[in-house]
Symmetry: C2
Subunit: 538 residues, 2 copies
């Protein structure tokens, strides 16, 4: 027991085993992060061998032994998401000040569910919600001084990420749409079935473009709405929802007595980075009395940019907005938030208990989906202060500029095809040699379909091979472009949010993809492609 | 832009501004944590003044300036949850090795939603799920070697905490109970309303004792079941569900054509630390074909103790079990998990997307409620290794022993009353002077009710005053003990999970409460109490 007590006691500062270990960790991490290798070429199945023992050891292992294990087997085999050539996902470089500041959060181990375990962290979190609320809604100073710290109001809710933020928004919207009414105690108490019967509907629906994030279908499942009731509305050639298709969808639902209670606009689609026409959506939502939610998990911080914020015009009319802090606010993994224009909106999901989050307390836990939560707000606060409005503007402008130049270069190449044009800092493309390009222009639809199918396999092969080489990483997805009659097309997807990524890094990405394609000369898919493109009538 | 790039670049190790700052932070934190003061006596409203500006600064502030702000205004005004005299909530001391090891997690910034952004962290997380699955279910080695790393199976799901774990368990249970059937595509796709109609029920219900955690009502709201359909079953004198009451509740629900699809057993009630008779619950769940979930968010790790694990007998028959890692696994805030006995159980909530979590991938995100998630599993892994099975057993035994001794002492005092006896390391009590005790024994029911009401106000006053003094912290809640005809009684609640808490610390807690009571002589509630107890016929 005495040994055990020691691990809970503050170590004497310098020279202690723990501070030596910490120095080792810092040196090792600096080494890992300085190497610009995305990932070692080790098969996952091989790595799994080091993580196969399910017996919890009877006796303790030394901290130094565990540290060594982590550095050897985990750090060395993890993905260098901060590498300038890791341009495939939304996980980017982290400002280095986050590392020492995170220490404060970890060591204090506050629990934001209630003020009794978080004290100053509670007003701090509310302040951050206010700062981002103001970024989106720009209410007058008097609004914020009135509501920011009000025990009965919430400008939003912190959570672990965009998925929970989207669920929270739709949960609040659902509970408002089917709230208490006469004898009916509301859906919160009575549930979905009783609510449908009371309101005389055959079902509910949430409307979103076919490019909406998969978390929305998950939200519909969780919330008892049903995945099929996330009604995917057609997009135009730029992956943006078509307002005319939206309106006819609403008419169709109403005819079947299905009540669409929420409309989701996307500000930065995950796959292509496009932005729905938010102003038109706000008009339709107002006319149809639907909750208007904007999923700005990715694109929300574009509001910092004087140049590009106009692309989000209409977001200020949203009833709620999701922003992920661990994406373009450059905060460590595990924090997102949802803002509500109306500070009373979260009342529809408020809950209380006897021992905490009592009615009238300032406990943040009364209006969050999660219970116990860490003080990540401290890191968002620090990022907003240390990077500042102009800093974020530079980061946003830089990423969009980089994407524009990279897309232009791809468009100018005769062996690559730009599939979706960047509106923000995300776009998609694929390898498309001249012969295939010509064939796709001239061949009959069936032949085109076959060529694209082979190209899909080749794109997949190139992406996986490049990932395995470990020098660079782009992701891949499947889209249904109009130019190919909505056939499923596999594409490379790049996300350019790392300020360390340069034009040169991207040139190398393309060069490597070209080399992989060249190395495939004997591959059956290349042979099939040659066959299909060589002789149009074959 | 150049200044901005610098914050994303690995700083030259020693002597850099950032490493100097880090040393300052460490020194300051060590100072804060060594002082055994729970919280400074500052009013929240006063603290709020430092967090009232909602304007994001145009220009960046220096990291050093922000650090100073955090140390002055946040650290100094936060709650010392690791203090040995902070015995009121489930947030406890943190082993110090967590601080350097967390650095690895923060710096690598992995995203566990997919292997492409987490690689070795994926098998690591699966291993931790396997270790805890084995702790609960103790399946043979062959079971784990077959399923641990299987792309189509999950032994459980990590999440941010117990609330999401409980929601996940009930979500999976709901989707299994109302799954696809003939033409009906299942509740996941069709939603709650269609499911009720297809299965011909008037509603669904989840059964749990009246001492169940508030997150279950929240789960019922979120899942479209409705809070009123969390049917609270009566408990016995030890805050444990009464199987007879449960069976009659089920009969009543069935008569109304309500289908109870899940039964929740509590292993460590939040307010009193009691454990439901899990074996009897497992029998009833099997007979009634209900999903049997055990909420072991708090009490789960009692399984480490050879002495006390038998109190959880029957947990191994649960379909799912919630365990919070940031509670009695002593991991930093923000990680819980839910285990499923059947590795195929999470299929009922599985989801896929085009660009990640594709069918057949090993991406963990296909079976979690959350999307992007940090690599907290690394810290759970480290805790299990460094503390070891025996270390956890010692911690558990120590807390239960401490609670037993403290409860015995209170029982021996003539001015305090033990309200709920500790089964684990949590119990409740209140200040009850001899005259009031006598009166409660002898007076008529109405007089008793009045006395308890005044005592409730006094308990509340003592708890708040002690919290404000900042030397110690117990929480408070309200219970309905049988001995007072289920009248709501306000009590002090202690949670004894900090190994640094000693018998002496607890003696001081009581002493201070006694002093606060003594200082209340002129308080109207004490005068009212004296009046009510002095003259039985007044």
């Amino acid at each position: 027991m005495e040994n055990l007590l020691r691990i809970f006691t503050v170590p004497e500062a310098p020279g202690s085993t723990l501070s030596r270990l910490e120095n080792d960790i810092s040196a090792n991490l600096a080494g890992f992060l300085q190497e610009h290798i995305v990932a070692e070429e080790t098969d996952l199945v091989e790595i799994e061998r080091d993580f196969s023992d399910t017996l919890i050891p009877e006796r303790p292992v030394y901290v130094s032994e565990q540290t060594e294990f982590l550095l050897d087997k985990v750090v060395a085999q993890s993905v260098h998401t901060a590498s300038p050539s890791f341009v495939g996902h939304m996980t980017s470089a982290l400002p280095y000040f986050m590392i020492p500041l995170s220490k404060i959060m970890i060591a204090l181990n506050q629990n934001l569910v209630k003020t009794e375990t978080s004290k100053a962290f509670t007003p701090l979190e509310r302040q951050v919600l206010g700062m981002l609320h103001r970024l989106v809604y720009d209410e007058p100073e008097s609004f914020y001084s009135q509501w920011l710290h009000d025990a009965h109001r919430h400008l939003g809710a912190f959570c672990s990420g965009g998925t929970v933020a989207n669920i929270t928004a739709l949960w609040a919207a659902r509970n408002r749409a089917f709230g208490p009414d006469g004898d009916f105690p509301g859906i919160m108490k009575a549930g979905m079935f009783a609510a449908m019967r009371h309101y005389g509907c055959e079902g509910t629906a949430v409307l979103v473009s076919e490019r909406g994030h998969y978390s929305l279908a998950k939200a519909a499942d969780v919330l008892g709405i049903g995945r099929d009731q996330i009604v995917a509305v057609e997009t135009d050639g730029h992956n943006r929802i078509r307002p005319d298709a939206l309106e006819s969808t609403i008419r169709r639902l109403r005819r079947s007595n299905i009540r669409p209670f929420a409309l989701v606009g996307v500000a930065g689609t995950t796959e292509t980075g496009n932005i729905d026409p938010l102003d038109s959506l706000a008009d339709i939502a107002a006319k149809e009395r639907m909750h208007f939610h904007v999923d700005g998990a990715w694109g929300g911080p574009t509001l910092f940019s004087e140049t590009y914020r106009k692309r989000l015009k209409g977001i200020e009319r949203a009833d709620s907005v999701t922003i992920d802090a661990h994406k373009q606010l450059y905060v460590p993994m595990g924090v997102g938030l949802v803002l509500f224009r109306d500070p009373a909106a979260l009342k529809s999901i408020e809950h209380h208990a006897q021992y905490i989050i009592r009615e009238g307390s300032k406990d943040l836990g009364s209006a969050t989906l999660e219970g116990s939560r860490p003080g990540m707000a401290m890191l968002v606060h620090s990022a907003l202060k240390i990077i500042g409005r102009r800093g974020y503007a530079l980061l946003i402008d830089n990423g969009i500029g980089l994407a524009r130049r990279f897309a232009d270069r791809i468009e100018a190449l005769d062996d690559f095809e730009l599939v979706s044009d960047p509106e923000l800092n995300i776009f998609t493309y694929r390898w498309l040699p001249p012969a295939a390009r010509d064939a796709l222009r001239d061949a009959d639809p069936e032949r085109c379909r076959q060529i694209n199918e082979v190209l899909n396999r080749i794109t997949r092969y190139i992406q996986k091979t490049q990932r395995e080489h470990g020098k660079a990483f782009v992701s891949r997805t499947r889209l249904t472009p109009e130019r190919y009659d909505r056939q499923l097309i596999t594409v490379f997807r790049v996300v350019l949010a790392n300020p360390l990524t340069t034009d040169e890094v991207l040139r190398d990405v393309i060069e490597e993809q070209r080399e992989i394609a060249a190395s495939m000369q004997d591959h059956e898919d290349i042979q099939r492609l040659n066959q299909l493109t060589r002789c149009p009538a074959a």
